[in-house]
Amino acid sequence: MPDTPASATPSNSTGRGPGTVIVALYAVLALAATGRSVLQITEYFSRAPLAYVLSAVAAAIYLVAAFALATGRRTLATAACTVELVGVLAVGLASYAAAEHFPDKTVWSHFGSGYGYVPLVLPVIGLWWLRRTTTPPRT
């Protein structure tokens, strides 16, 4: 398959170069969050329904972000990254303010400390990457 020049496929540029690594990181987080939330919800949902539902929501959003970045769907990717950033900040704060609702670690609680703060850093990197790969206006 011949390589198409980058200028011919501007919409797909988010999944190339460094973007490949960002997609991989999102996929890893999606995997981690999905595995954890499926077990939390099926095994002991009643202990902290709110935290576990948020885990599942986070997992879904990471999947959407990975898919959108890999396929160059900018609007969707921007939306997903923004929701993540808001989510990790809101749940991070809530997990300190209302600790009784978050007995177990979830992806977003304590600003993602259980995952090396990757959930906090990744949406920022994602949004920066989306901005950076925007095709500059032609002269």
């Binding site: 170069g17 490949t20 077990l39 002991y44």
Partner: protein, 120 residues
């Protein structure tokens, strides 16, 4: 059996990670050696997942057993997906995907071994 296999898988993942880092450093793309390591790693991860399904109930706090099972079932997805991304990408970043994936597998497999030796 489980800790031995988990540590063997960890070592392989570190090897995979290092190999990818070296290739990335030298600005090379994915080669047969990396593919072979990834394939052997994948076999190890599938066996580990099967063993984990059979024995995770021996782990005492159920929460730890659930984490153990989640990790063991998630891991086999990593090498094929990383390989796919690495083949698709035709720049130095191709092998950096392998570095990230190898590191992830190493950490998760080491955690599996640790949970098993602490709680089983």
């Amino acid at each position: 059996m489980i800790p031995v296999l988990a540590y063997a898988v960890t070592a392989l993942a570190v090897l995979w990670c290092g190999l990818c880092a070296w290739l990335g450093w030298r600005d090379r793309l994915i080669n047969d050696g990396v593919l072979l390591v990834a394939a052997v790693l994948e076999i190890g991860l599938v066996v580990l997942a099967v063993l984990a399904v059979a024995r995770f109930r021996q782990i005492d706090p159920a929460a730890e057993g659930a984490t153990f099972l989640a990790y063991a079932l998630s891991l086999p997805a990593v090498p094929p997906f990383a390989t796919l991304l690495a083949i698709r990408e035709k720049s130095r970043w191709s092998m950096i995907v392998g570095v990230v994936a190898g590191f992830t597998v190493a950490v998760m497999a080491a955690r599996i071994a640790q949970i098993w030796s602490l709680y089983a």
